[in-house]
C-alpha cells in the first residue's frame, strides 16, 4: 500500500468552495471527467448535514498494455460519497474506483475546511491510499494468458494464410513438375533430333566429301594416267 498526501489553499471562503464542488465538472483541465451523476442524496433531520453519493465517469486513453489487462473499454467509474457538515464546516469527499477494483484500489479522501486564521481562505487536504492487489505473478499470468490466446489467434490466422500459400504452391508445384517434364522431354527430343540431324548431315557431308574426293582422285588419276600414257 502506498500513501499520497497533499495540502493546498484556495483564496475563496469555504461556503463558496463547497458550492463550486457540485459544479466542478466540466472544466478545461480535467477533460478526462466526462460525466458526473448523483446516485443518492440525503439531508439529516437537523438540516445541517448533507450526504451525497456520486458516480464520476472518466474517459482516458489507456496504455495498450493496461487496456489488455482491463479490457478494451476506456471508460472508468469512480464512486464518491461526500458529507457537507455545516456545524463542523467541513466538506469531506471519499472516493474509490469501481473499475479494475480487483487489480488496484485508490481510496481518496479530500477535506475542505475554512483556514484556521483566515475565513476568506479554504484549506484543501488530500490523502490517497493506493493498494495494488495484482501481484507481479498475477500480472505475468495475465500477460501469459493473453499472449497464449493472441498467439493461438495469430497462429490460426497464420495457418489459414499458410494453407492458402501451400495450396497455391502445390498447384504450381504440380504444374511445375509437369512443365519441367514437358520441357525436358521436348529438349531431349529436340537435342536428339538435332544430334540425329547433325549426324545425318555430317554423314552425308562426309559421304559427299568422300565421293567427291574419290571421284576427284579418280578423275585426277585418269588424267595422270593419261598424262603418263601420253608420255
Amino acid at each position: 500500500m502506498k500513501l499520497f498526501q497533499n495540502t493546498q489553499e484556495f483564496s475563496y471562503p469555504w461556503e463558496q468552495v463547497t458550492a463550486a464542488n457540485w459544479r466542478k465538472y466540466p472544466n478545461e483541465v480535467s477533460t478526462h471527467v466526462v460525466a458526473v451523476d448523483v446516485l443518492r442524496r440525503e439531508l439529516d433531520s437537523t438540516g445541517t448535514r448533507l450526504t451525497s453519493e456520486r458516480l464520476i465517469t472518466c474517459q482516458q486513453s489507456v496504455p495498450k498494455w493496461l487496456a489488455m489487462l482491463v479490457g478494451s473499454s476506456n471508460k472508468s467509474y469512480v464512486r464518491e460519497v461526500s458529507v457537507v457538515d455545516l456545524n463542523a464546516k467541513t466538506l469531506t469527499l471519499r472516493s474509490c474506483n469501481l473499475t479494475c477494483a480487483h487489480l488496484l484500489k485508490v481510496y481518496e479522501t479530500v477535506k475542505y475546511q475554512p483556514h484556521a486564521l483566515d475565513a476568506s481562505r479554504t484549506v484543501f487536504q488530500q490523502e490517497a491510499q493506493i493498494t495494488a492487489y495484482a501481484t507481479i505473478q498475477t500480472l505475468c499470468n495475465k500477460i501469459e494468458e493473453w499472449s497464449v490466446k493472441r498467439f493461438g489467434e495469430n497462429a490460426s490466422k497464420g495457418r489459414k494464410g499458410f494453407d492458402s500459400v501451400l495450396r497455391m504452391l502445390s498447384d504450381n508445384w504440380e504444374q511445375r513438375d509437369k512443365l519441367v517434364d514437358e520441357l525436358s522431354d521436348s529438349i531431349a527430343d529436340r537435342v536428339a533430333g538435332t544430334v540425329g540431324e547433325i549426324r545425318a548431315t555430317t554423314d552425308s557431308l562426309i559421304k559427299e566429301t568422300e565421293m567427291k574426293s574419290t571421284s576427284l582422285v579418280s578423275r585426277y588419276s585418269k588424267e595422270t594416267q593419261r598424262a603418263f600414257n601420253k608420255t
Binding site: 451523476d37 446516485l39 439531508l43 438540516g47 445541517t48 450526504t51 455545516l86 474509490c96 469501481l98
Partner: protein
C-alpha cells in the same frame, strides 16, 4: 464554469440531470448553506432523474461493482471504509 453542466454517464438522462442540478445548486447556495432548509428539495426533478439513472446503471452493467463498493464503504458512514479500523 458558466452554464456548462456536466453530462450524465447515460446520455438519455442528461436532460433530467441538468434540470435536477439547476434546482439543487440553487437550493444549496440559497437555502442549505444559509441554514434555511430542513428538507432536501427538488424532489420532483430528483425522482425523474434518479429513475433514469437506476435503469441505466443496470443496463450498462455498473450496478454489481457499485453494490460491492457500497458494502465496503456505506453511504450511512459517509463513504468511510466499513472495516477502516481493521484495514489490511
Amino acid at each position: 464554469m458558466g452554464n456548462a453542466m456536466s453530462a450524465s454517464f447515460a446520455p438519455e438522462c442528461t436532460d433530467l440531470k441538468q434540470e435536477y442540478d439547476n434546482c439543487f445548486n440553487q437550493w444549496y447556495s440559497e437555502k442549505f448553506l444559509k441554514g434555511l432548509s430542513m428538507e432536501n428539495e427538488c424532489s420532483k426533478q430528483w425522482y425523474a432523474y434518479t429513475t433514469c439513472v437506476e435503469a441505466a446503471l443496470v443496463k450498462q452493467g455498473i450496478k454489481p461493482a457499485l453494490d460491492e463498493a457500497r458494502k465496503e464503504a456505506p453511504f450511512e458512514k459517509g463513504g468511510e471504509s466499513a472495516d477502516s479500523d481493521a484495514s489490511k
